[in-house]
């Protein structure tokens, strides 16, 4: 199991992947936006996206859980 966490305070601009989907290492899961910059959050493992903890418009803090891949 791998957990994907936010690297910085940011707004969730776009959710690209969906729960239950098969993802591959390097796939874009969500796109964060901070300080007018888009920051793609990538899968760090291949597997099934069992949890997507954020929705578009959310504000995430550094270290917040974004997704779980199993």
């Amino acid at each position: 199991m791998s957990e994907v966490r936010a690297e910085m305070v940011a707004n969730v601009w776009k959710v690209v992947a969906a729960e239950g989907e098969a993802v591959t290492d390097g796939d874009t899961l969500v796109i964060l936006e901070s300080m007018k910059m888009e920051i793609p959050v990538l899968a760090e493992d291949s597997g099934t996206l069992t949890r997507l903890a954020v929705a578009e418009g959310d504000v995430v803090q550094e270290g917040d859980l974004i997704a779980v891949i199993e």
């Binding site: 910085m8 305070v9 940011a10 901070s34 300080m35 007018k36 910059m37 920051i39």
Partner: protein, 447 residues
């Protein structure tokens, strides 16, 4: 003279405009979002009006809320700063319609220059050199590929309504163009409200050199020297200097004269900037865009000319003469501006957070335009600019020396900043030599 001004902006530029307003005896009204209530500019204004939540679309970009605040506080004029509503011709028109004075160029000039395709076409007609490019919006990928064949690779893909380097990318071949086109379109739509895309021939090694212009009430357009803005990351400026170490007297004279012609072509009034790209290998220059507003990096021009550009904006908006004699402008010495961003020094990734320590450098020739102070929280909602560290010296060597000392003594704690990058930049032989171009940062940070 004007009696009062509402500053429709935030952070360092709001504070900087308020300072000149106060020096000239104007009452200053600030507007602020929920996220910015504790910032210095709110405290320093005579009156401050909350205009909405943190999201720019619901506060600083909400023209109706800004205008309502102006009317409510009896502000006589509106200064937009840069970004946000500064280049919204509709907002400028609404301010004028409400009977207030707009501290900026006419809505017509803003509209003409806001669309880059239109601006390029207009400039070409006025005899200003432009790079080979599309004369109308590129509709789809197929049209983009066809246009690029005529222009020649590499090409730049740009949002016609864009600015600030956002959504801009280079394509070296058809595959890259095909890959980049849709991304550029969706970003253009999202950030600028228009999907219109412009393709332009990309210059391999270029310097970004821009000219500060001032359009007077009698129709004259002055050129107040150039700024070199070639130190960029992600097509956004990080450091600027005046004069440009990369151009000689002849090229300078030619660029200044061309900038004046560009301003005259749109009957420009107030402070504006004509941006050019200089091809390092040929010495040729082409028009890039015209910014119909005050520019972030205006302090370097102020430091070498001794002219307060915001004061001139107020005077021109009030229908008055400027404060100096145009033929007496004698630039002296050398100035640098380092943009201190809330981002790490290696990858330049955003680093919002709470500022626990804030100690500004001082000393001869040092000017700091800061938007924050200790205890403030830097949120992810706005650009990462914390402060502009500016220095002036008798020559470039002295300016560099002062900048190194100022960077070393700038104490910011609680979040990551790019001060470390600036320290490296000032030590880099390429920057030190003055012979750099827009890919300097990429060379300092390969990969």
């Amino acid at each position: 003279m004007l009696e009062s001004v509402l500053v429709a902006n935030r952070g360092e530029i709001a504070r900087r405009i308020i300072a000149t307003a106060h020096r000239l005896g104007l009452r200053a009204v600030a507007v602020y979002s929920e996220a910015d209530a504790d910032l210095p500019f709110v405290r320093e204004a005579d009156v401050a009006v909350p205009i909405g939540p943190a999201q720019p679309a619901r506060s600083y970009l909400n023209g109706a809320a800004v205008l309502a605040a102006a009317v409510q506080t009896g502000a006589q004029s509106v200064h937009p700063g840069y970004g946000f509503l500064a280049e919204s011709h509709a907002f400028a028109a609404s301010v004028i319609e409400a009977g207030l004075t707009w501290v900026g160029p006419s809505p017509d000039s803003i509209e003409q220059m806001g669309d880059k395709i239109n601006a390029r076409n207009l400039m070409e007609q006025a005899g200003v050199p432009v790079a080979a490019g599309t004369k109308q919006p590129v509709a789809d990928e197929a049209a983009a590929l066809a246009a690029a064949e005529l222009i020649g690779y590499p090409v730049m893909i740009k949002a016609s309504a864009g600015g600030g380097g956002i959504g801009m990318s280079a394509a070296a071949d058809p595959a890259q163009l095909a890959a980049g086109f849709e991304t550029a379109r969706s970003r253009a739509e999202r950030f600028f409200g228009s999907p219109a895309i412009l393709l332009e021939r990309c210059i391999h090694r270029a310097r970004h050199v821009e000219v500060q212009i001032l359009g007077l009430n009698d129709g004259r357009v002055l050129a107040l020297g150039e700024r070199d803005c070639s130190v960029q990351r992600r097509h956004q400026k990080v450091a600027e200097e005046a004069p440009s170490p990369g151009i000689g007297p002849e090229l300078r004279a030619s660029m200044l004269a061309t900038a004046v012609r560009a301003g005259q072509a749109v009957s420009y009034r107030g402070a504006g900037t004509v941006e050019f790209l200089v091809d390092v290998s040929t010495g040729d220059f082409v028009f890039l865009e015209m910014n119909a507003r005050l520019q972030v990096e205006h302090p370097v021009t102020e430091l070498v000319t001794g002219i307060d550009l915001v004061e001139q904006q107020f005077l021109i908006a009030a229908g008055l003469d400027i404060s100096f004699a145009p033929d007496q402008v004698a630039p002296s010495g050398h100035a640098l501006e380092l943009r201190v961003y809330a981002e790490d020094s290696k990858r330049f990734l955003p680093s919002p957070g709470t500022i626990t320590e804030w100690a500004e450098p001082s000393g001869p020739g040092v000017r700091v335009d800061a938007g924050y102070a200790a205890g403030n929280t830097v949120t992810p909602f706005y650009d990462p600019l914390l402060a502009k560290l500016c220095v002036h010296g008798a020559d470039r060597a002295q300016a560099l020396q002062r900048a190194r000392a100022a960077v070393a003594s700038f104490g910011i704690g609680g979040l990551r900043t790019n001060l470390g990058f600036h320290a490296e930049l000032l030590e880099s032989p390429e920057f030190g030599s003055g012979g750099y171009d827009t890919s300097l940062v990429t060379r300092l940070r390969p990969g």
